[in-house]
């Protein structure tokens, strides 16, 4: 039974009844309801418990300002910490209160109220110090926070992000925003209108006003219809919060209920020429004892519930105000059959206009509410003169309060516009804009509908250079206010909340000030006032007023805290859009991925998102058996691997030789066409950037290969140098990583496989010696064969165009079959390079290691006058400090594996480390575990025994040269 639903009126569809659950109980609401209005219609008053004291709370507001009732949505669209006032009611919706257990009616945490006096602001910082925060942290983390995050992504649908451009972006579809959109739209420019409510109209939805002699909502409907007919007004978004105002007029809009039901939420990033902020105003509360009891509600919220949702939030109300706006509320409620016991106005003089609105409702001017009866629901109020005299009790079940109106200046302030305190309005209003934006209507303190229409039209006319239209007639309302920052009367006892969500009272702010936290930002951090879900939309200004009163300074001097995005909460899903992992960074494949998978490869990611085969297990082989088999094939017969992911760049121009000499540590310009050379690149501060091979294709044409993972880095490095330091050098860099694929045939029988494949290139030892290349045909395919070796065996890297890669691969496997060819994965490649002591950047190189440490002093050219990093390496080594140098390790027990990364300490004792193990593999040539390590003074310690320190053990190992196989390199040169 919706016992509080009015028989007629409201923007709800009574033909569509919706069933929902709240804290396990079944209720009914109507289409058009929010969860909050449906709960009120069902007379559910106690809807929440507060964050710190677990006090009973009800519904306070009607929109995103709601500070009290947060719910967790369950089921298909599970989502935590939603304000009940912004949740659109849906059939079958299930929600429950946060921050209470088991229910808001019976909440075990309510015991905190007994200790309220012991847990003032700053309590954590003072108390949980001894013996250490970590002792208390787990319990406090459990008590703190509100609802938990959903445990799984939504079952269906996805999030979406869209970029858009607009000449004029209008935020808010109230009277000011609609008028601005009409004026801008009629000029034909691109207009974008976004509004946070589920339908257009803004505050007109909540009130009973007339525009052009008709109900205001008829004007709204006509305006929306006209906007929809304009092709240039491309987006009229409802239920869409503009939540961030970023640099250069980029605004973020979160559309919560897009028309396409597959899209859960859509996040717009809109770059606008001009922004018109028609964001309206938010009512602030008054600060009096027990102003948080269920049934204490913002006056404007009650007006919204009566007019927009046809719900009576109570039967008998007391209205407490310091300004004129609450009089219209009282009139509307009275007309809907709610008994108004009294209007309590803190001002001595009430303007005539306001008195006229009140009609026969008794007005108590110069009076305040000094207390509330009822803990779980309001039962009455105590009203007295401002100093506390003449207290009398009034029965009521609803206490409506209005402390005045604050322009919703959040976005303006996010855009770095400044705010100014306006004494007449007793609030902060936008002052100087920092970007191309203008505030209109309530957002700039123009609170009457007539001035909203006027300022909206003016802003749009000015932005588009068009004429001011004739404005429809609307009743001019008057607004005046005398600020009342808190009730300070004799007999006023009980907690008076400034920030209802975070349980921050006047006493907490006074305490912060006494303890020296007297900057408004410090008060915020110390008391948590203005933090959290609502970001103090109703209470911040009262905190600022309380500070000003206590310090005896003007409010302007206290200032506001910084407004930051988001204006209203946004789900992480909406921020991410569809950019989940595989979309942000899609995997890269070579043409033989399918072949690899068919062959049963275990696929890895190998740097830069390449999918590469790790190993090719056969039947019920273990990992180690498969890797050993692949290694043995390369060492004893022949193997083939796909080297396509290696970074490749073609460099052209007369200055390439000079350029390569500058970026490599060794000399490249002396290479002759047809030759290649291994090289090392440093950063300017002397650290190792990358290693790879440079080939000279012709007089002015070169090819540079890089490691897979660093291809992009090296590309950036080269472009930066060429474009910023040597713009006059004639060098053009073209990335060709994806234009060349290769199959690398390696092993003692590699030349026989090449012969079986057939080639017009002379592949003999003399015809194509080590570190040279030739172009021609291989297996009938155009190819470039390069004699480099990353395994230490005789190798032929057959490079072809991607369209030929799969053919080449299959023909190589076929031709190699008689020789026992095996496809080789990255695991075996790792073993083979460790056996040879070849460098792997990801293993042996970190931010301390240089080429000398790695035993590669030979690659640091002494002939060249300069190269990138030369001076820095010299500078770094001048102190003759102890260096960690690359060594080989043989574990004393040949069957004992050393974990990669394990530390070496003197004697294996608990002492500072003297190195670390960078790699450890089962060597098929030595038939034992072998390792590489960086060890202090390692080069002079060959033959010593060192110790690996593990958690529960030490491993002894003998130090040797970092090469376990063919130290003279005869095999790869063969």
């Amino acid at each position: 039974m919706q016992v509080r639903r009015l028989p007629t009126g409201g923007r709800i569809d009574r033909s569509q009844s919706l069933a929902f659950r709240f804290n396990g109980k079944e209720y009914q609401g109507f289409s058009g309801d929010t969860l909050a209005s449906a709960l009120l219609a069902n007379n559910v008053r106690l809807t929440a418990r507060s964050f710190k004291y677990h006090r009973p709370r009800g519904i306070v507001g009607s929109g995103p300002e709601e500070p009290a009732t947060l719910v967790e949505l369950e089921g298909r669209r599970a989502s935590a910490n939603q304000a009940a006032t912004t949740v659109r009611l849906e059939e079958g919706m299930a929600a429950r209160s946060v921050n209470c257990w088991p229910s808001p009616g019976l909440d075990m945490g309510a015991v905190n109220q007994l200790f309220a006096g012991l847990i003032p602001a700053g309590f954590y910082y003072k108390t949980f110090k001894w013996p250490g925060w970590h002792l208390y942290e787990p319990a406090i983390r459990k008590a703190a926070g509100l609802a938990g995050a959903p445990v799984a992504p939504p079952l269906d649908g996805h999030f979406e992000a869209v970029h858009a451009h607009a000449d004029v972006l209008i935020v808010g579809a109230g009277p000011a925003g609609l008028m601005a959109a009409l004026v801008a739209g009629r000029t034909g420019c691109r207009v974008f209108l976004a509004d946070e409510r589920t339908e257009a109209g803004g505050s007109l939805l909540d009130r009973r006003l007339e525009i052009a002699g008709k109900p205001a909502l008829e004007w709204v409907a006509e305006s929306v219809a006209e906007l929809k007919s304009m092709p240039n007004v491309t987006h009229l978004l409802q239920d869409a919060s503009v939540w961030a105002y970023r640099e250069h007029n980029l605004l973020m809009v979160n559309e919560r209920s897009p028309a396409n039901s597959n899209v859960l939420e859509r996040n717009w990033r809109i770059r606008a020429g001009q922004v018109i902020l028609a964001t309206g105003a938010i009512e602030r509360g008054l600060v009096f004892p027990d102003n948080d009891r269920p049934g204490v509600m913002l006056a404007s919220a009650a007006q919204a519930y009566v007019n927009r949702f046809a719900v009576k939030p109570g039967e008998r109300a007391v209205v407490f105000a310091n300004n004129d706006s609450a009089y219209a509320v009282a009139a509307d409620l009275h007309a809907s059959g709610i008994d108004i016991a009294a209007i309590v106005d803190s001002r001595d003089a009430v303007p005539e206009d306001a008195r006229d609105l009140a009609g026969e409702i008794p007005i108590k001017s110069g009076s305040v509410v000094i207390g509330i009866r009822g803990k779980r629901a309001v039962k009455g109020a105590t009203v007295a003169e401002r100093d506390g005299r003449g207290a009398e009790k009034v029965d009521c079940d609803l206490l409506l309060h209005s402390g005045g109106w604050n322009p919703t200046a959040h976005l303006f302030s996010q855009s770095r516009g400044s705010l100014r305190y306006d004494d007449t309005l007793a609030t902060f209003v936008p002052d100087k804009a920092a970007q191309a934006c203008v505030s209109v209507g309530g957002a700039v303190g123009e609170f009457s509908p007539a001035s909203a229409l006027r300022t909206g039209a003016e802003a749009a006319a000015s932005a588009t250079g068009s004429e001011m239209p004739d404005l429809p007639a609307v009743t001019e309302g008057h607004y005046s206010i005398a600020p009342l920052w808190r009730v300070d009367a004799r007999g006023a006892k009980g907690k008076a909340f400034l920030d209802i969500q975070n349980d921050v009272t006047v006493d907490d702010v006074h305490l912060a000030l006494r303890e020296g936290y007297d900057n408004v930002e410090h008060v915020k951090r110390y008391t948590t006032g203005g933090m959290g879900f609502d970001q103090g939309k109703t209470g911040n200004i009262n905190i600022i007023g309380t500070i000003a009163l206590q310090k005896g300074v003007p409010i302007q001097d206290v200032g506001t805290t910084t407004f930051r995005p988001p204006y209203t909460p946004v789900s992480f899903g909406a921020i991410g859009g569809i950019r989940e992992e595989s979309v942000v960074l899609p995997y890269r494949h070579t043409p033989i991925t399918r072949w690899n998978l068919d062959r049963g490869a275990f696929m890895y990611e190998a740097g830069a998102r390449w999918r590469r085969p790790g190993y090719f297990p056969r039947d019920d082989e273990t990992f180690q058996e498969a890797v050993n088999r692949e290694c043995r094939a390369v060492r004893e017969d022949v193997g083939v691997y796909d080297g396509s992911p290696l970074g490749k760049f073609e460099l052209k121009g007369g200055d390439v030789g000079r350029f390569l000499d500058h970026i490599y540590t060794n000399l490249m310009s002396t290479l002759k066409p047809g030759q290649c050379r291994y090289g090392l690149m440093l950063t300017e501060d002397g650290l190792i950037l990358d290693d790879g091979v440079a080939m000279r294709l012709g007089k002015h044409r070169w090819m540079v290969s890089t490691s897979t993972a660093h291809a992009d880095t090296v590309h950036g490095h080269m472009e930066e140098l060429l474009q910023t330091q040597f713009p006059e050098w004639n060098v053009y860099v073209t990335p060709v990583t994806s234009q060349w694929n290769n199959a690398t045939v390696c092993g003692p029988k590699a030349r026989e496989v090449m012969a079986a494949l057939g080639s017009d290139i002379d592949l003999s030892h003399k015809g194509l010696p080590f570190m040279s290349f030739a172009d021609g045909q291989v297996a009938g395919l155009p190819a470039r064969v390069v004699r480099v070796s990353f395994t230490g065996e005789l190798s032929f890297e057959i490079n072809v165009a991607p369209r030929h890669m799969r053919d080449l691969w299959e023909r190589t496997m076929e031709a190699g079959e008689p020789f026992g060819i095996e496809p080789v994965g990255s695991e075996a490649s790792h073993v083979l390079r460790v056996e040879k002591g070849f460098l792997s950047l990801g293993h042996e190189v970190d931010g301390t290691v240089d080429a000398h440490d790695l035993g590669m002093s030979w690659i640091m050219s002494k002939k060249k006058r300069d190269f990138v990093g030369k001076r820095s390496v010299e500078l770094r080594r001048r102190g003759n400090e102890i260096r960690r140098e690359l060594v080989g390790l043989l574990p004393a027990n040949p069957n004992e594996q050393i974990p990669e990364g394990a530390p070496l300490t003197p004697g294996g004792e608990r002492r500072p480390t003297e190195g670390l193990v960078t790699a450890c593999v089962w060597s098929v040539v030595l038939d034992r575990w072998v390792a590489l390590a960086l060890l202090e003074n390692g080069k002079s310690r060959h033959g010593e025994t060192v110790h690996v320190r593990l958690k529960n053990a030490t491993i002894a190992a003998d130090v040797m040269e970092p090469v376990f196989h063919d130290p003279d390199g005869l095999r790869m040169r063969s």
């Binding site: 980029l250 990033r269 770059r271 472009e719 930066e720 910023t724 330091q725 006058r865």
Partner: protein, 85 residues
């Protein structure tokens, strides 16, 4: 997110660019400069409150390295001082 003027592509969104760091003095001749000069070149980075001259790389666009003057207080892209290059 800033709107960065690329000399080839016009105003483009910051997400297309990679930050290239402030424009530093030219690389000194490593055989002429003393240790302090070299270390200063490596480690001293202009970090003014106000306009700073900096590199951006249009890496997801045309690939150009470009420079802008950006006000570090506001992210506004501004005119460089008249005596700047």
């Amino acid at each position: 997110m800033m709107l960065i003027p690329c000399p080839f592509c016009g105003n483009r969104s910051e997400s297309e660019f990679a930050y290239g760091g402030p424009v530093k003095p030219d690389r000194p001749d490593s055989h002429v400069t003393d240790d302090e000069g070299w270390v200063a070149f490596l480690t001293t980075v202009p970090n003014p409150v106000g306009p700073v001259h900096e590199h951006w790389w249009h890496v997801k666009g045309c690939g150009a390295w470009l420079t802008i003057w950006r006000d570090t207080r506001t992210h506004d892209i501004v005119e460089g001082p008249p005596d700047a290059g």
